[in-house]
C-alpha cells in the first residue's frame, strides 16, 4: 500500500507530479495533480471522458505542450528531476518516456522493419547498435515477431489493427525507454486484440515502468498494480488497485467503479 501521505516512499518513485496544472487555452484541464508512478509496475489512470487522464500522461513526456495554446505549471519529476525545468530538452525526455497512442499510428510510408527501427534511425542513436537485433528483440517483446517475421518489408499499415498497435509498442520499446505511457491503447481494438495487449502490458512491467490510461475499469483491475481515479481534472483517489476497487475511500470513486456514473 502506498499513499500520497507516506512521503519517503512517494519520493523514491520513478515519476511523480507535484502540484501539476495544465490548460488548453483558458480551459484548465488538470488541477493540482499529485500522483506517483512506481518503477516496474503498471499504474492505471481511470475516470470518465474529459476528466484529464490523457492530458495527465501527455504532461509526463511533454507532449501536452505541442497543442497550440496548451500550457502547464507545477512539476513532473523523473527520477527526482523536474522535466519542466528550463535546462531540460523535451526531445530528450521523450526518448526516456515513450508513448503508445489510442489509435494505432504506424508510419504510413515505412515497412514493419523501418517502423521499429525508426526511433533509432531518426534520433541518430543507431550507432554501435545492431539494428536487425534491436528490431527482432523489440518485436519479440511486443509478441509480434512470430506473426510478422516473414513480412518485415511489408508496409506497417498492412497488418491488422491489433498487430499495428503491438507494432507501435515495439516501436516505442526499441528505444528502450524507462517509462512507457499508454493512452487508451485498446479502445480501437476488438476483444481478442485487447486481451493480447493486456497480457503484453503485464509482461512489459518486468523491464519498464508502465502508465496506462483506460476508460475500461475491468481492464484497469486486470492489468494494474496501482490505480488513480480522476474526475473533472482532479485526482480523486490513488492507491493499490485492489484497495481502490474493493475498498475505495472516496464516495465518488465508489460510484464510478460501480457504474453509477461516467
Amino acid at each position: 500500500m502506498i499513499s500520497i501521505n507516506d512521503s519517503s516512499e512517494f519520493e523514491s518513485m520513478k515519476m511523480r507530479s507535484v502540484g501539476l496544472n495544465a490548460w488548453f487555452g483558458a480551459k484548465q484541464a488538470l488541477k493540482d495533480i499529485n500522483v506517483a508512478v512506481k518503477a516496474n509496475a503498471v499504474t492505471a489512470i481511470i475516470g470518465p471522458s474529459g476528466c484529464g487522464k490523457s492530458t495527465l500522461i501527455r504532461c509526463f513526456n511533454r507532449m501536452h505542450e505541442l497543442v497550440p495554446g496548451a500550457k502547464t505549471s507545477g512539476q513532473v519529476l523523473l527520477d527526482g528531476k523536474d522535466i519542466y525545468s528550463g535546462d531540460i530538452d523535451p526531445v530528450m525526455i521523450r526518448r526516456r518516456v515513450g508513448m503508445v497512442f489510442q489509435k494505432p499510428n504506424p508510419f504510413p510510408t515505412m515497412s514493419i522493419y523501418d517502423n521499429v527501427a525508426a526511433g533509432l534511425k531518426l534520433t541518430g542513436m543507431k550507432k554501435g547498435k545492431n539494428l536487425d537485433e534491436v528490431v527482432r528483440r523489440s518485436l519479440e517483446q511486443a509478441t509480434l515477431w512470430e506473426e510478422v517475421k516473414n513480412d518485415l518489408n511489408n508496409p506497417g499499415t498492412s497488418i491488422s489493427g491489433g498487430q499495428q498497435q503491438r507494432l507501435c509498442i515495439a516501436r516505442a520499446i526499441a528505444l528502450q525507454p524507462e517509462v512507457i505511457l499508454m493512452d487508451e491503447p485498446c479502445s480501437a481494438l476488438d476483444p481478442i486484440a485487447t486481451a493480447r495487449i493486456e497480457e503484453l502490458v503485464v509482461q512489459l512491467k518486468n523491464q519498464y515502468t508502465v502508465v496506462i490510461v483506460t476508460h475500461n475499469m475491468q481492464q484497469a483491475a486486470r492489468v494494474s498494480d496501482f490505480t488513480a481515479f480522476m474526475y473533472l481534472g482532479r485526482l480523486i483517489e490513488f492507491g493499490d488497485t485492489s484497495s481502490v476497487f474493493e475498498n475505495p475511500r472516496s464516495e465518488l470513486t465508489e460510484k464510478y467503479i460501480t457504474g453509477k456514473f461516467g
Binding site: 499510428n105 508510419f107 504510413p108 510510408t109 525508426a118 531518426l122 534520433t123 499499415t157
Partner: protein, 281 residues
Amino acid sequence: MFTSYAMRKFKNRFFFFLCLLCVVAAVLPLLSILYEVVVRGAPQLSLQFLTQGPGTIGQSAGGIGPAIQGSLILIGLTSLIGVPVGILSGVYLAEYGNNKYADAMRTINDMLTEFPSIVIGITVSAVVVSLIIGRYSAIAGAVALAFMMIPIVARTTEESLKLVPNSVREASLALGVHKWRTTVSVVLPAARAGLVTGTLLSVARIAGETAPLIMTILGNTYFFLGFDQPMDALPLRIYRNSLQPYQDLQAQGWGAALVLVLIVLAINVGVRFASRGRFRR
C-alpha cells in the same frame, strides 16, 4: 397519378438534357482547339522538324529544335529555383505557420498565384535584364517563371502536408525525434504524392507562359548559347511565327503549338499517375 409520373419523368429528362448541353458547350471549344492544333500541326511533325533549327525564310526545310531545347532548359532551370523555394515555403506554412507572419505570407502567396504574368515579366526585365545581367538571358526567364511557380508549389505543398494526419507527427515526436527530422523523414514522405502532383502542375502552368518570356529571354533561332544569353522557347516560337507573313513559318508555328500541347498533356497524364495513391490506404 399517371400524369404526375409522366411529368416527373419528363422533367428529369429535360434537366438531364440541359446538363448535357452545358457539358457540350464547355468541352466543344477545347475540342475544336485541339482539333485545329492537331490538323494544322501534325503535318509538320518530323524528326527534322523536332531537331533542327529554323532554315532560311522561303525554304520549307527547318525546325523548332532550339525552341524545344530552350523550353526544356527553361523548365529545368525554373524548377531548380522554384521547387526548393516553393516546397520549403509550403513546409513553413504547414508545419510552423501558426502565426501572423505566415498568415500574411499566405495572403501574398495567393495574390502572387493570380498575378498578371506580364507584370512579373516586366519587373524581372527591369531588375535582372537591365540591372544585374545587362542582357536578355535564359536565367532571367527562369527567374520570371520561378515567381509564377513558387506560389503554386508552396500552396500545394501546404495543402498536402495538412492532409498528413497529426497522429503521424505525434508518433514521431513521442519517440524523441526532433521536429525538423520529423518533418523531413516522416511528414514529407507521407505527402510525397501531393508534392509531385503540385510540382508537375506548376511545370505544366509555366511551360505555356509567353508574356514574361518576351521581355526576359527574347527568343532567337539558335540552339543553347549560355545561361546569360537569349534563348528560344516553344510559346515564344508560336507567338513569333504567328506574326510572320510567310506561310511556311506560320505552319511551323502550328507544329510548335502541337508539340507544346503534347508536352503539357504528357505532364497532366504524369500527374494522374503520381497522384494515384501509392500511399493511400
